[in-house]
Structure formats: structure tokens, C-alpha cells
């Protein structure tokens, strides 16, 4: 599929921003949606909308099938025994902290995190620490990479390792295969934050061997408000219900309740029905793309940006290795990131600034924030060139 065709598939990319064609390079925050996804949701609301489960009428049957089809796709696409539908990565990780953590960890038990984690994979563990007194160990980051020696040491007596597959700040793909095998050798459970991974590669969950894997639909062409937690059977059996109500029960009496035994056990209340329909469309659409050839193109575009920035005396924090995501995090020595980004926006170029919900990593890098340009499969060299030209215009204006 040529790049021009790709731009036709995403209606927002035809939009003008401040009189310029939109150059959307904020994909690590959220991606745009292809027309098929937008249509799938609109069609659902226009033809099949109903509440799911325990349903006898036709619409309810269609809605239930639409909702469960998303789970079926998730399971088969990622080879996962269990797929719990959540509102996103953040809720998925909080679910692990509550449903697995509270049931299986107690005072003094060790959870290993890394300095590269997104806040969503730090704060739930800090909260659990405050509440039941687990111990948190952070694997340091050296030169933008996990310190694997320190990681090995941190495993001593640990119960759970939580690691980000691909960094949302640097694009670095961590050596997750190694991380998981080292943890597994020590009988330690592993949670993978795959929010930035699944948009770029299709992961075989069982083969990779993690116990939990969390990600969000909105970062992979799907709608907001939905995500998933993949779990293997053994670990699934160790989880206790988290939120209560709605379809997660089997029976409720005044004396107490019993719960469903499948994924519904963790999906309290009316689920994200239209969102599941939209996400399923996105997953199917992504499944038809050649992600690895897109990845090569994105990476080459990102590298051209990185090189151009460096030539202009700008600090680039991303290494952009072959397996890394096409994310370019940078800072100018004197221009404030917000000024920089706002002047890019005035040229129709959308990038993000700030700590990217990774303040510990910022602290390690000795900065408070970066400007981040992140590419996705509709971005091409034209976008990279537009960014470079935009940067030049900013540098000129600020000279």
C-alpha cells in the first residue's frame, strides 16, 4: 500500500491546521483512526446497539457477538489464553496490582520496576507499597538503556518484574526476551507494558512467556476508552476479583456473592461495547498491514530527522536502533520546548513536549522534559522533511 493511499485511509490527515497540512507526529500519545474504525462504531450505534450478555433479543445477541469478537481477535492475534478487556493500559496495570498483587503479595515482597517505566507502571505499585508494604526496586537506566547487570541483581527474592517493552520517551525496545527468561529462571512473574510495542509488532504472548501484558487500543488505531490485559492460565487462576457489579457475578445474595470464572469476572458493569467493535475493526485492519515494512520506513524517516537535528546542534535522546520505535526525543540548548513546539504547531506540525509521564526517566537524563516526534504507519519521509523544514523555520525565528 503506497503512502498516499495510507493518508486517504485516515480522514483526519486531510485536515489543515493553522493553514498548513496536518503533519501528525504525536503518535506515541495516541494514533489516528482509519475510516473503517470510525465506520464500525457508527454502524454499531446505527444498527446493533444493545447491552450485552444474558440477552435474548436479536440486537443484544449481535452486540454480545460484537463485543466478544474483539476478545477472540485479541486472543488469536497475540496467542493469549486470556484477554481481559479494560479501559486501557493504565487500568490493566492497576488491575494486576489489585487483582493479582493484593491476593499474592504481602509485606516485604519485592516488585522490580525500571526507571524507564511510564507513570502508569509506577504509581499503582507505589500505591500498593503504601497500602501493604511491598518493596519496590528500580532497575537503573544507563545511556538510555536498561542496566542488565543491575537487573540481574534486583531479581534476588523478587516476586514480580514490571517492565516497559518499548519506551514511550526514547523509543528504545528493551531486551524483553532476556528480561523474561531471566525472571522465569528465578520463578518470578512478569508484567509487560506493551502500550508502545503492539502498535509496531505483533507479539506472540505465550511464546514470549510473560504472565501479563497490558496495552491500549487508542495507540494502535483503535478508539479511546478501551484496552486489554492478556494473562496466561496459571496466573489468571491466581487473580481475585477487583471491581464488583454487573456481569462479573454468578450469584448475589445478601450474605455474599460468587463470581464468574472467565474474563467476565474482571469486567464489572456494562462493558465498552462500541469500543470493542471499533477496536476489533482496528485489529483486523492492522492485521492486514505489513507492520515490519512500515516500521523500516518510519525508522528511516525518524533517523533522517534525528540526523538533521544533531547537525543543528540539538540534543537527541533516542538511539533509533533497528528494533526501536520511531520516536525522536530532543531538546534545544536554549529554546524552551513549549516555545519550540508551539512554533511547530503554527506550521501544522503536531509534536508533544513535557515529561511524557516518565518523570523518573527525565530525572535520570537530568532534564525536565523533551520535545517528542513519534511516527506511525501513515507517516512518511514527506512528514520527516516537513518537520526538518519546520525546525529550521523555528531556529531562524529564534535566532
Amino acid at each position: 500500500m503506497g503512502d498516499y493511499m495510507m493518508k486517504d485511509v485516515f480522514p483526519i490527515l486531510s485536515r489543515e491546521v493553522n493553514g498548513h497540512r496536518l503533519v501528525y507526529l504525536d503518535n506515541a500519545a495516541t494514533t489516528q483512526k482509519p475510516q473503517v474504525v470510525i465506520d464500525a462504531m457508527a454502524d454499531f450505534y446505527s444498527t446493533s446497539n444493545a447491552n450485552v450478555h444474558r440477552a435474548v433479543h436479536t440486537l443484544a445477541g449481535e452486540a454480545t457477538e460484537g463485543y466478544e469478537a474483539c476478545r477472540i481477535t485479541l486472543k488469536s492475534m497475540y496467542n493469549a489464553p486470556r484477554a481481559i478487556i479494560t479501559s486501557g493500559t493504565t487500568e490493566a496495570i492497576n488491575l494486576v496490582a489489585h487483582a493479582w498483587g493484593r491476593a499474592n503479595l504481602s509485606k516485604g515482597d519485592v516488585v522490580v520496576l525500571t526507571e524507564m517505566e511510564h507513570h502508569s507502571d509506577i504509581v499503582p505499585w507505589q500505591m500498593l507499597c503504601d497500602s501493604i508494604g511491598i518493596e519496590l526496586r528500580y532497575v537503573p537506566v544507563q545511556d538510555g538503556e536498561l542496566d542488565m547487570d543491575a537487573f540481574a541483581v534486583s531479581l534476588e527474592g523478587a516476586s514480580l518484574v514490571c517492565v516497559v517493552h518499548t519506551s514511550n520517551v526514547l523509543g528504545v525496545r528493551n531486551p524483553v526476551e532476556k528480561v523474561i527468561s531471566m525472571a522465569k529462571e528465578n520463578g518470578i512473574r512478569v508484567l509487560l507494558d506493551a502500550a508502545q510495542a503492539v502498535p509496531h509488532e505483533t507479539i506472540d504472548f505465550l511464546e514470549l512467556g510473560a504472565d501479563f501484558m497490558a496495552f491500549s487500543a487508542h495507540k494502535m488505531c483503535g478508539p479511546t476508552g478501551i484496552g486489554a490485559l492478556l494473562v496466561n492460565e496459571e496466573t489468571f487462576a491466581e487473580m481475585e476479583p477487583f471491581m464488583g457489579g454487573g456481569d462479573m457475578i454468578e450469584t448475589v445474595t445478601l450474605e455474599g456473592s460468587t463470581y464468574q470464572s472467565n474474563e467476565h469476572r474482571f469486567e464489572a458493569g456494562t462493558p465498552r461495547i462500541a469500543e470493542a467493535v471499533g477496536w476489533n475493526a482496528a485489529l483486523n485492519w492492522l492485521g492486514e498491514q505489513d507492520l515490519s515494512s512500515h516500521h523500516k520506513r518510519m525508522l528511516s524517516a525518524a533517523r533522517s530527522v534525528s540526523n538533521a537535528l544533531k547537525e543543528r546542534g540539538i540534543t537527541v535522546y533516542s538511539r533509533l536502533g533497528d528494533g526501536d520505535a520511531a520516536v525522536v526525543s530532543f531538546n534545544h540548548p536554549t529554546i524552551h520546548p513549549e516555545d519550540f513546539a508551539r512554533l511547530l504547531d503554527a506550521q501544522g506540525i503536531a509534536v508533544r513536549t513535557g515529561h511524557h509521564c516518565a518523570q523518573p526517566l527525565m530525572a535520570r537524563l537530568g532534564i525536565t522534559g523533551t520535545i517528542r516526534a513519534s511516527f506511525y504507519l501513515y507517516n512518511d519521509q514527506d512528514d520527516a522533511d516537513a518537520l526538518i523544514a519546520g525546525v529550521d523555520k523555528v531556529l531562524e525565528a529564534m535566532a
Partner: protein, 136 residues
Amino acid sequence: MNWSPAIQGLIEEFQEIESKFEKLETLMDFADELVPLPVEDWNESNLVRGCQSIAHIEVELANDEVILKSAADARMVEGLQGILTIAVNGNTPDKVLELTPDFAEEMGLLNTLTPSRSNGFRTMFDMIQNRVKELK
């Protein structure tokens, strides 16, 4: 698959009906075909799980012939049981084990039922084959 004449008859009978209402009426008519399982024989092990209504099925072997006995509180579930009775009763265990639940698909029966009800049909079908395997 080559269906037995009994099953082939069922498929043809249902395929002819266009209106869903009549399909369901016909389904309920088959409730008369089941061999009743008396209430005193209802127990945990013959309870059909995952069904929203109460349903029980029991399988016996006599003279190398399978006998399905069943009961339910909803007429349409009894209808499904009646259809299973026609498909199964009087056949040898081997014949029953060769059967696939696809005939219900061909009848256009399962898509007239909601997922939970059609799952109920599959659950009953699987229970029968498992029971037959045990008894054989």
C-alpha cells in the same frame, strides 16, 4: 457430512420455514420428542452448566443403543433436547460419537437462538458425547 435419515429429515423440516416465529414454534413442538428425566434424577452431575434456564440430561446404554433422557424448565430448551433425542436415541455409541453438532447449524437453528442458548445446545451435545465415551 452424510446425515442419518432422521437428522436429514430435521434439517429439511427446519430449512423450509422462513419466519423466525414459526421456526421457534416448530422447535417447541419437538419438546414432545424427549424422553423425560424424572425430577428425582436431577443432580449436579447431569446439570447443564452455562445455560440460563434449568436443564438436565442423562445418557444410558441399553443393548448397545444410546438413550438420552432430559428435562428443562423452558420449552425451547426442551425442544433442543427433543432434537438431540431424535439425533441420538436408538443409535450405537460409535454412531453417536461420529456425529458433529453441525447439523443444528444446517437446520438454521443456532442463529435463531442467542449465543447463550446456542452455547447451551453445544454444551448438551458435548455432554452427551462425553457420557457415551465413559459408558462405552
